[in-house]
Assembly symmetry: C2
Homo-oligomer: 245 residues x 2
Amino acid sequence: MSRPTRSCPELEQALARLSVAARLNPGDVDHLRPLCDQLETWTAGIQVKAPQQSDRFRLITSGWIYEARLLPDGRRQIFGYLLPGDLICSRHGSRGAPSVLLAVTRVESVELPALTATPDGRGARLREGLARTVARQEERSYDALLRVGQYTATERMAHLVVELRDRLMAVGLATRESFRAPLTQEHLADTLGLSVIHVNRVLGKLREPRMLTIKFGVVTLLEPERLEQLAAGVAARTSVEAADS
Amino acid sequence: MSRPTRSCPELEQALARLSVAARLNPGDVDHLRPLCDQLETWTAGIQVKAPQQSDRFRLITSGWIYEARLLPDGRRQIFGYLLPGDLICSRHGSRGAPSVLLAVTRVESVELPALTATPDGRGARLREGLARTVARQEERSYDALLRVGQYTATERMAHLVVELRDRLMAVGLATRESFRAPLTQEHLADTLGLSVIHVNRVLGKLREPRMLTIKFGVVTLLEPERLEQLAAGVAARTSVEAADS
DNA sequence: CGCGATTTTGAGCCATGTCAATCGGAGTGG
DNA sequence: CCACTCCGATTGACATGGCTCAAAATCGCG
């Protein structure tokens, strides 16, 4: 649970992604790496505890987490996913009404060191970078709101798939056309504000014209361009119907 | 545009609300008040510019603003509203894709002073308080996401009305049963992810059983309890239909 | 009084939801 | 290796919430 972490590809990828998102320079990353010694692992389906202190962060090195709020009658809204390279911080789980973090798969993470102020300004720089990264993560809720509030079911699906692809591409876990995703159609439904059955139909409608397939946890964007257009909300509604006729 | 502000009830209310949200103590408020000298006003319908620097804040003393993203084909998602006592900061308008702040009514605001570190820790305390307040404001996007993703049209309306009432009550601009809101049904529609016409129907369905009326910009919660239940997502779907039969 | 913006109403349709059943793969125990 | 089971994906029939179009009524305002 707290064994010193040997350098491993997952950690490197996560740090690389973090350094981009937080605009760190290589020196800062090198400084950070040996200090990431608090490894923690969660098994699939378990609830993930965010750090208590608001200034501590865990960096996900592998696995998927979703954040959601549950209603008493069983409805569930998934707010979004935390992927390798993302940060878990105390803010998660305290969005007005309580929300929960749940591991979709087995998840590994390292705790970033406490950022004490240093004379060379590195501490402040890191702190600021992490804050920016967390802010970016939170901004995704606005994308999600637009998606659910204004998009059609097909557009929503495209939007989500493109978002996940772009984020995974940044950590080297996706190409422009494909990535692995441990999501069931129920996850997709609760993320997009649709019923499971309608998600299935939408997937069928995107599969026929060979635009998108989701099979065995593998997402394949057969026509990335079309999907990106759909995701941007600029594709005429008709372009989908035209395709499958 | 930059005349010294005389003490006025609006400013006092806004400061009072801020002091609660940011957990300031009276001394801090007294310290802040005379420094709020940069008054700025926007007229209804105009775009509101957020402060450039990320550490500067404007406190709204009167008026309503909405934040939205616009799609090329005319669709619009309203993310939420900024009310008296809320803070405008640089983060607004930069949520991934660009979003805009638009004044619903005439809006007045004051710029809070720059927060320099002080020996007595007041600067740091204020800074932290403001950050917490902004964070709280942003958390509302998660409420909105749940609302649009999982709630029925009726529940969405109740949820929004209750949210606005609660926030306005905190600044003394609402009672438990009523408040003034400068929103058209089109605003409501774009906030709730519904069509204008359906908003109208929902309002009709809430008006008949005398639960809620929106008329002349005045929102009246005739049955606050029922609406609060609807807003919490715990009211059986049937309770509404039962009521209007 | 007349005009534009907003609200209201009606008819009809489509997207999406519900219910129920089947199918398929993955694991498990015999 | 097979039967069983469970979970997720798929399909069909059907119901309905919410959308579109069109038009009338109402309000706010000059």
